[in-house]
């Protein structure tokens, strides 16, 4: 089969992926008070990975990101449930969350919430599941 000429796609991808990654991280962190959060951030991240899969092939991407995405999903759910289990230690209802303000060196006065930990789990679960689904479909050909 003739190699398709996709120089433009690949060049755009190289730039776009960085932008998408940055944007999804931004979405992820804005989630606590503004629209965004773990789910949508994770989906954005998975979209960037999908773009990589499309413009390069799965093997090339795998060489660079050698993660088992099934395990990413599992670890994500474990983190999410684990933050819920933390409430057993503090005698609070399951999945309770709390927040406080800290003075950090560069960021200044920052709000740190335990809900972000839960969101990390959600994001990982979404990335893992979405990428696993896409890779499974592509193997079917």
């Amino acid at each position: 089969m003739k190699e398709p000429n996709d120089v433009i796609l690949r060049s755009v991808t190289k730039v776009a992926v960085v932008i998408i990654f940055t944007f999804s991280i931004n979405l992820f962190f804005s989630g606590h008070h503004l629209p965004g959060g773990g789910f949508i951030g994770g989906l954005g991240f998975a979209a960037a990975l999908t773009l990589l899969f499309l413009s390069y092939d799965i093997e090339t991407v795998r060489e660079n990101i050698s993660l088992d995405f099934k395990k990413v999903a599992v670890v994500g759910v474990l983190i999410a449930v684990g933050t819920g289990l933390g409430s057993f230690l503090f005698d609070a209802p399951f999945l309770s969350h709390t927040f406080d303000y800290f003075d950090l060196p560069i960021f200044g006065k920052t709000e740190l919430a335990t809900a972000v930990l839960f969101d990390v789990g959600v994001a990982m679960a979404v990335i893992g599941t979405a990428v696993t689904v896409i890779m499974t479909i592509s193997e079917d050909r």
């Binding site: 599992v74 670890v75 759910v77 449930v81 289990l85 409430s87 609070a92 209802p93 999945l95 309770s96």
Partner: protein
């Protein structure tokens, strides 16, 4: 607040997830899965004791108070079902250790099994209609995997049907949830109960309740059971036994919860309809059970008869009927798993499920034979075994409510149940023995333990019924007095 309530959901979930990470280590998976189901059972027993002493236990998840957050509530009815679930699941798991085979084990059988239990336990505990939907989905998706795992031709054919039916009923479930939210403006079961009682259960709400009745009838196999005989006879024995013991029961639990807690104002419409559905289900199920000469078919039709009979207790809406239903529900979970396990063992021994091709197993497998005989008597409700008390109370309840036809059909079908199950016993165990032990296709090595465990329980539930009768009465009282549930949820 009582964080114990979340454990029956979280333990199997976390352990299942961990087992996915250790995919190759089957021995570890076996130990962990058995241990986590045992732990779940221990929590359920603790909950039962707390229910007995302090009444209904609740947990407002994340500290968001009802009706705004998701509430978990365990009354005695839930706790009893949780305990029974753990016992049935553990037995089927022990059976699976020897029979399920390496291929299925390496494709996540044990994690998915635990996810199924997660969904079942969640459905029993939740006090929120939408969360009930989520737990149903967790349970159903796991059951899709278990049903199709292994990928034999028959399994795949039945999976397609099963998935389609359940997608449609899940869709209807969502439609019902949307309707009720539009009309009443809440999804918390206790809050729903208050609001429906305040507004009066008019034509609109009764119509919505019937949407839910259709949804849960599809899941429970109440009249809409056309999908059940196929999909319950396709998977391997251990999985079929779990399905028969647990899945339809979750649908029944949901019908009980909704029609005793929320939609109990128009019993002449809803509960009469449930009674009629139950009667038709019993008759059709009995016809199926008597007509077929195939072990799997006879057993699945017996599952259907059980559904109809338990619903008769709900239709009566009396304390006797409810007591009977709770008793019978517990009995039914245990006994259906048991007869499926024994039936599956017979099939694996003889290599066929046709009754005419088997005979004389009693000479080579006396224990199996007598345990099957005990199970058969318990199934038909012969005293002093476990089915008897439930039958007595349900019949009493229907007579008190003056549904004589319903009680009559119930009694008549139990005779047909006895006939259908004795047909298996006589064909499989009596007669000339022409299968010597060397010629058998399978063996009973190591799988007698779960069967003996469940048989022992069936006997114990009958003989020692006095021991749990106070718990069962408490459960029935809780079902008849929705204000107890409401007070517990809003009490804190």
């Amino acid at each position: 607040m009582n964080n114990l309530l979340i454990l029956p959901v979280v333990i199997p979930l976390v352990m299942g997830l961990l087992m996915v990470l250790f995919r190759k280590n089957i021995t570890l998976q076996k130990i962990v899965s058995a241990a986590s189901i045992t732990a779940t059972g221990a929590v359920a027993v603790l909950l039962m004791i707390q229910n007995d002493q302090d009444g209904i236990q609740t947990l407002q998840i994340g500290g968001w108070q009802a009706p705004f957050g998701i509430t978990y509530a365990a009354d005695m009815f839930s706790s009893l079902l949780l305990t029974t679930t753990s016992i049935v699941a553990l037995s089927c798991l022990l059976f699976a250790f020897k029979t399920i085979g390496e291929e299925r084990e390496s494709y996540y059988f044990y994690p998915v099994f635990l996810f199924l239990i997660t969904g079942v336990n969640g459905s029993f505990l939740t006090g929120d209609l939408f969360h009930l939907f989520v737990c149903f989905e967790v349970m159903l998706i796991s059951s899709y995997v278990l049903l199709s795992l292994g990928g034999t031709r028959k399994q795949l054919r039945e999976s397609v049907k099963y998935v389609l039916i359940n997608l449609i009923s899940s869709f209807l479930f969502l439609v019902g949830v949307a309707y009720i939210y539009a009309v009443v403006g809440t999804l918390n079961l206790a809050d729903l109960s208050v609001k429906v009682a305040e507004a009066g259960q008019g034509g609109m709400l009764t119509a919505i309740s019937l949407v839910f009745l259709i949804v849960f009838s599809l899941k429970a196999g109440l009249l809409l059971f056309f999908w059940l005989p196929g999909s319950y006879s396709a998977p391997p024995t251990a999985i079929a036994a779990v399905f028969a013991g647990l899945l339809t029961k979750v649908g029944m639990y949901a019908i009980f919860r909704l029609f005793t807690l929320v939609f109990y104002h128009e019993p002449q419409i809803t509960h009469l309809l449930i009674g009629v559905l139950g009667a038709v289900t019993m008759v059709l199920g009995a016809i199926g059970a008597v007509a077929y000469g195939d072990i799997k078919k006879i057993l699945t039709y017996n599952v259907i008869i059980g559904v109809g009979f338990i619903m008769a207790g709900l239709a009566s809406m009396s304390i006797a009927g409810m007591t009977g239903s709770v008793f019978y529900l517990i009995h039914d979970m245990i006994i259906k798993a048991l007869i499926f396990l024994i039936g599956g063992t017979i099939i694996s021994l003889t290599g066929t499920s046709k009754l005419e091709d088997m005979s004389g197993l009693i000479r080579t497998h006396p224990y199996l034979g007598w345990m099957f005989f005990t199970a058969a008597l318990a199934l038909a409700g012969i005293p002093p075994l476990s089915g008897f008390l439930g039958k007595v109370f349900i019949t009493q309840g229907t007579f008190e409510a003056e549904y004589y036809w319903l009680g009559g059909i119930g009694l008549l079908t139990s005779l047909l149940v006895l006939y259908s199950i004795m047909k298996i016993f006589m064909n499989a165990f009596w007669g000339e023995t022409y299968l010597s032990e060397e010629m058998e296709k399978g063996s009973t090595k190591g799988i007698m333990v779960p069967i003996a465990l469940l048989t022992g329980l069936a006997v114990l539930l009958g003989v020692g019924a006095e021991g749990i009768s106070s718990y069962v009465n408490l459960a029935a009282e809780g079902l008849m007095n929705p204000e107890l549930y409401i007070k517990a949820v809003f009490g804190e």
